[in-house]
Symmetry: C2
Subunit: 483 residues, 2 copies
């Protein structure tokens, strides 16, 4: 017998089927009772809005109503009636209530009061039942769907690049080892080294830091592709911006140069933000309010100028600033915080790597807009970036967002075999390991480009949350792999 | 200067813009030349169909034409004209051709001749440039998009469950270890054991075999969720059906019982197949032809009765057969191959685990339809499956597809805390490790259900390929982590 005869609260709110008998199922958020009536605020996760259930103690037995405490899961059948008191247009007059699962008020941790984000992180298995995290994960879903829709609508193909990789040539960061050997007691070769020939893949294997190189292979066949998968960094970074396991979106496009790449990235970022604005209005309103309350606890001069929704609209409606690294260095060198030695890392000469403080100065103080920084010195960028005519810079781009810093990194790729192998030699990257990558420069090479978007940083930006651990369901960080 | 001024071949074929000057970019598949004219078959990955470029040697220099060999990447500007000779309605009269990247005919491995799938697997970095693999990966993309569209349209939320996990309780298979310790020389505790406190996560960690348990946590807040992510098995299975790294789709739904779960799974599978039929017509036609040629190499009595497209339509248009394990055992026990001892594993009594040969007999010989098998003996299924009233079976379901065997496994989940913990004790699963999973039975529990679809098995079914290594871009199997 099918059990799922319920209607979702989102549908009831959209349609207000006055006079109809319906069944709702969901979790009790709060219950207010007096002698004559009980009001239950019910949430089923389909929307942030609770639906009001009205229970008459003459109709619903007292022991049932007693069990309808915060967190309990209940099934209500009743009639939709016009609502006079509440802010909603309709409410449900309960005929029957069935308690599907209780939640002992003495033990259930999510009682209706304000909980700190730190506390909720410890009970990540329950935190999605709160308004804040329900909203965050609905918005996260919408952003993920927008990513797929954007690329699908434009004829890009989704490629699943490998998670386990034997290559560690990309050098994007420290890697996790993957093995089936007994750690501490592996088989050894005659000279005493670990005998990786006996490991599962018959060689050393790691978790990927990027699907880019494999993505390029696919782009050299299908023209326009994207990846959307997990990537890993085994770095001991306990910050509000880093995860050991995070999701990346990496489009790679044949026939794109650096400017095409910038155009695509800007259009793509605006699209997915606009999609969230259109499809997550209520969740974003709630998150905006939450962010505002957080802002209000800061000193006045550190508060954001724009509210969350204004900020998102501002990004969608305005051109990103595009300037070269060289121009940025000039601005930074002559900036007040540099002259007054307020930067932790002072900008003295061309070639310096930009720190978060510099990126944020450019975005938040100088331009007050998202910024696309291009043409970085080759010595601070990866081997595969296309070398510019000047012999000093590469066709890189980083996109910097207010409050986030770098959200996108990309480049035109070096398609010229001689230039690429020369750079690999300079950087001590063994050609044998990347023979397959070099083949795409040997056979039917073409100008091409791509970028990577850290998905959690985008969710952070759109939800206005401030710690990246709060925008992924079960965060992995140093010392933490719970759930 | 933006470089990407090209039109995709798919758009040109759809619109046939006769008389317009356009630019195409792509890879040469073949070139046929005589004294008066060269015909170049161009492919850009947007479609399986090559576009015919006509080059007059009086217009295009001989040395340029010479470089337009198979695999070369070229840019052509010219005028779209009606095509008389070729099977297409239009073709391109080249005004200029620029060779973006040559492909030395002496060295390029993909010359226009038939290559074995085994050979192409060795050059997986290039195989997407063939008709077969171009088609496979376009269909794979369409199926992945259909998954997201199906669930998004129905109000399910996409959850990214963790890839790295400290839990190994699910017991779905052998796991890969994830570590940052030096494998041959890890730090040790006083009693000589590996000191995992010094590992990245301060405990032992593995790659996930399933996102189900975490998915259930999310369903207990958002009602209907799905995962779509990589999962791993460190099993030494060198078969045409197993990968060490593969992608799974795992919906979990609050308020669903076993029947709701079956209904959803059947509807979902039909939807994504129908989506591929509607959106991948040309690729499927090609793959059907390829599969037919493969069938024709088999003895007549082993050939499939239906062609690929007929098979897909048959699945979409017919109800799946639903029967219990107990009914299936009766059928199998009385079947000819069992009586004649043709099965490798004879079915003698209730309780036997079904092997692939039994599943295929039911699907391919007895019912000739997809089959949903339900209510398996509890002793051959996982601890979290809901126990039926009979005390012997659980509310499991496996969906079996012709030529594939098990494509979906799922169940109603045990929501009753006492029954669940009792089963865990019987199966020696430590409660402490799954405290968070048990919490969802302590607080606001509800009937719920879910299933897992092995994505590559679905791609295998829809593309008619016969080896699972040929439907994922860069397969990971024992001894193989190349690219």
């Amino acid at each position: 017998m099918a059990f799922n005869k319920r209607v979702k609260i989102k549908a009831v709110l959209d349609q207000s089927p006055i006079g109809q008998e319906i069944t709702l199922m969901g979790w009790v958020r709060t219950k207010r009772s007096n002698k004559n009536v009980s009001f239950i605020a019910l949430n089923d996760g389909s929307t942030i809005t609770n639906y009001q259930v009205v229970a008459d103690p003459n109709v619903i037995a007292e022991d049932i109503l007693k069990k309808c405490s915060t967190g309990a899961c209940i099934k209500i059948t009743g009639t939709v009636v016009e609502s006079l008191g509440s802010g909603q247009s309709s409410e449900l007059n309960a005929k029957t209530i069935e308690v599907l699962g209780e939640a002992d008020p003495e033990k259930y941790p999510l009682q209706p009061k304000k909980h700190s984000l730190e506390f909720l992180r410890e009970i990540a298995h329950l935190r999605m039942r709160t308004n804040t995290f329900g909203a965050v994960f609905r918005v996260r879903h919408a952003l993920a769907f927008a990513v797929h829709k954007y690329f699908n609508d434009r004829g890009f193909f989704y490629i699943h690049t490998p998670i386990i990789t034997a290559s560690d040539a990309e050098g994007a960061g420290e890697m996790f080892h993957v093995t089936t050997l007994p750690i501490g007691n592996p088989p050894r070769t005659e000279d005493g080294k670990v005998d990786y020939k006996q490991d599962f893949f018959e060689r050393e294997a790691n978790l990927t830091v990027s699907g880019q190189l494999e993505g390029e292979l696919a782009a050299m066949a299908l023209s326009e592709i994207y990846t959307f998968g997990p990537t890993f960094r085994a770095e001991n970074s306990n910050t509000t911006r880093h995860l050991a396991e995070f999701w990346m979106i990496e489009p790679e496009m044949a026939f794109y140069d650096a400017e095409d790449n910038q155009n695509l990235a800007e259009d793509f970022l605006k699209y997915i933000i606009q999609y969230a604005l259109e499809n997550c209005e209520e969740d974003l309103k709630f998150l905006a309010q939450r962010a505002q309350e957080e802002e209000n606890t800061k000193p006045a001069d550190q508060r954001a100028e724009l509210g969350l929704i204004e900020k998102l609209k501002f990004v969608v409606e305005n051109d990103f600033v595009r300037l070269s690294y060289t121009e940025a260095i000039d601005i930074l060198r002559n900036s007040n915080p540099n002259k007054k030695k307020k930067f932790q890392y002072l900008i003295e000469s061309w070639g310096a790597d930009l720190q978060s403080e510099h990126e944020r100065y450019l975005v938040e103080k100088h331009f007050k807009k998202p910024v696309i920084l291009t043409d970085y010195p080759k010595d601070i960028k990866a081997f595969y970036m296309r070398q510019n005519e000047d012999g000093k810079t590469v066709a890189a781009m980083d996109i910097l967002f207010p409050g986030i810093g770098e959200i996108v990194g990309g480049s035109q790729r070096e398609e010229r075999l001689d230039k690429l192998t020369q750079r690999m030699q300079e950087m001590n990257i063994p050609e044998e390991e990347l023979w397959w990558y070099l083949d795409t420069r040997r056979f039917g090479a073409t100008p091409h480009a791509g970028f990577g978007l850290g998905f959690e940083r985008m969710v952070l930006f759109v939800t206005g949350m401030s710690n990246i651990r709060d925008v992924i369901a079960f965060p992995r960080t140093p010392g933490n792999a719970e759930f």
